[in-house]
Symmetry: C2
């Protein structure tokens, strides 16, 4: 029998307990041993919970119990979670987490402690919720050089964008709907300003290229300034507006990573990913483009990924997965990236062509430019008096 301790009994922590309960028998059959939730740590009281007998408030019980094999950290944030994760790893426990903020910011340090202690620190659930994504990237695609990653990494904003394009409602109205449905928090900043997606593109970049990409150094632009008019023009012309985390390896070995809304052609499978679903496209130099799709959040989907890591750790207790990244990725200046741009204003197609080369006209006063750098696109936009400027994938 393997014993696990869950730290944090919120949505994901409760989901982990539920998956361990509802799939108890099939997990035991798969694994060849039972998985027992021994403790659930939370500062709050849950007197009516079926797990009341397992509830504890003192982390040192977990830290000092040699029977605990794996600690699941679903506290979130980078304060208490950081302290407990460090101590659990130091105590020689494997740790599995869904905490993207912690992994994006302190992953390198925590993986070093794990290496020192010959234990695992795994975090499949931190990106893409239940979608198998990080293990396929670092294991199944290990024989590739990864060239590019582009993904819908945040379900809240994808729900909002889907409502804008399908419901014809403004950003503000769609956000209210998302809040009413429980998809967006009362303070939606981390979602709608691209911070959540930014953490996730950092984790993907860390794994893809083996060097730390710091969230603080990554440009993050959200969708709060998005005009319904541009979403509509794009849709009529065969494009969908999607908030993408985007990272690529440049020819000089530098890594470019950022989050921004993009127009995506409907021929690209990412364009058809709607509602709270996530999808990530990874391009490897052998495999070409592969895409992973599924629910990027929610209690049971996220718990599915957490428990997948837990089972892997239990099956290979004595064997560490060799993952980690070193300091100091050399970040490319995303201003130097050449890409196509969407511009909208009160200008003629001829004027647009004069400023931006072979522009594709989507609607009167709305064009997609030839590939150019950001400064050139902004200069063209200024010359044309454009009021909207968006990237095109």
């Amino acid at each position: 029998m393997a014993n696990i301790a869950i730290m944090g009994f919120g949505t994901v922590g409760a989901g982990v307990a539920e998956v361990a309960r509802m799939n108890h028998d099939s997990i035991a059959a798969n694994l060849g041993e039972e998985v027992n939730v021994k403790y659930i740590l939370d500062v709050r009281d849950f007197p009516d919970s079926p797990y009341a007998a397992k509830m504890i408030k003192d982390f040192s019980i977990i830290e000092n119990d040699p029977e605990v094999d794996v600690v699941v950290e679903t506290i979130g944030g980078a304060r208490v979670a950081l302290d407990f994760t460090r101590r659990a790893l130091q105590a020689g426990k494997h740790v599995v987490t869904s905490n993207k903020e912690l992994v994006a910011t302190y992953g390198r340090e925590l993986l070093e402690i794990a290496k020192e202690k010959n234990v695992n620190y795994l975090f499949e659930a931190s990106v893409g919720g239940g979608i198998p994504l990080l293990r396929p990237l670092f294991q199944c695609l290990a024989a590739n050089q990864i060239e590019e990653i582009a993904g819908i990494l945040n379900g809240t904003t994808n729900y909002i964008l889907t409502r804008m394009v399908k419901g014809g409602v403004s950003f503000a109205e769609a956000l209210k709907e998302a809040q009413a449905k429980g998809y967006a928090e009362a303070d939606p900043t981390a979602d709608v300003e691209g911070i959540d997606a930014g953490r996730k593109i950092c984790i993907l970049s860390d794994l893809a290229w083996g060097k730390e990409v710091k969230p603080a150094e990554v440009s993050m632009e959200g969708i709060s300034a998005l005009d319904l008019k541009d979403v509509d023009i794009a849709a009529s012309a065969g494009y969908r507006v999607k908030l993408l985390g985007h990272a690529m390896r440049m020819e000089d070995g530098k890594v470019a990573a950022y989050v921004a809304p993009h127009l995506v052609s409907q021929d690209n499978p990412i364009a058809t990913v709607d509602d709270v679903f996530n999808a990530v496209m990874i391009r490897g130099n052998a495999v070409g483009d592969v895409m992973f799709y599924g629910r990027g959040a929610g209690d049971l989907p996220t718990a599915s990924a957490v428990m997948g890591d837990v089972l892997d750790v239990i099956e290979h207790r004595t064997k560490r997965r060799n993952i980690g990244w070193s300091e100091g990725a050399c970040l490319a200046d995303i201003k130097e990236l050449s890409m196509r741009w969407y511009l909208r204003g009160e200008f003629s197609a001829e004027a647009a062509r004069k400023e931006c080369g072979e522009a594709e006209e989507l609607a009167p006063g709305a064009v997609i430019t030839a590939p150019m750098k950001e400064a050139d696109a902004k200069a063209a936009a200024a010359a044309l008096g454009a009021c909207a400027v968006l990237r095109v994938l």
Copy 2:
């Protein structure tokens, strides 16, 4: 340094050699050791190949060389490949393959030998080419009970269907185009009659439910009898015709598995998968629906999956992956499945409703029925004089 031997220098075997060459340095950096192709076994002569010095014709050289860690089997078929795989495993070598025919038919036996000898027999490349699919299924989703799998598992037929819907050409013409492009073989039977997809749905079912599903017991219907008219009617009504491998766990614990063309609603991400791409949707009781998408064939994509397995084996030389399946899946009679059906003929919407319940009219004389069993659908079709009957996902 790890030594591998490649058996079979066809498209995939040559792709494996090429990936090992072009990504030699990044693989060595990832793995912490070099991967060397020591032998390439083939009955043919390749005097001008850069690998001429590695070419051998005698399998016993591989069998008896203690320096060979991993044998890559890309011979195909189930004759020589079966003999050499058995002997390589018996000799204590790990074996990695892309050979779906062998895995679907002899996988259980070969995995048993591997278990006895404490070596790995891995076959990620046998389903979905380069798409990470089997490892995510048996590892990342291990905490789920798998409920259903539906996928476009054959790129050749998906190319043909894409040409029919987008090019307006008949099955026969689209097949000729596919042959001209090298996507279809001179004898296209295994592809167009659903046999290739059938082997793959068997492998997926074996892994998902742990019991052997034999290709000989699975109903396989291809696309050679498909009428362009039905493809067109479906497209106009928001459906795409796709050849799907489909498997599900029934309430009584039996497994239903078959291959057949289906109408798929355009709201389903599988419907938008075109050309030679593959996509597989897996439904788990915790994760919900996840989808995996990419190139299902081709030298480098398939080699990417083969090499991913090779690297995994090398990294965990002493640790066997605990995969396998036992004898005797209890197969459900697919005639007992209740599903919606597409019927076309010279009948009125009222007549269709009388025969098939709440039918959805796609066009005059073309309806989708309420869910019903195959016998009832065929009886209704006979009563209506329908000339086309297709399943609806």
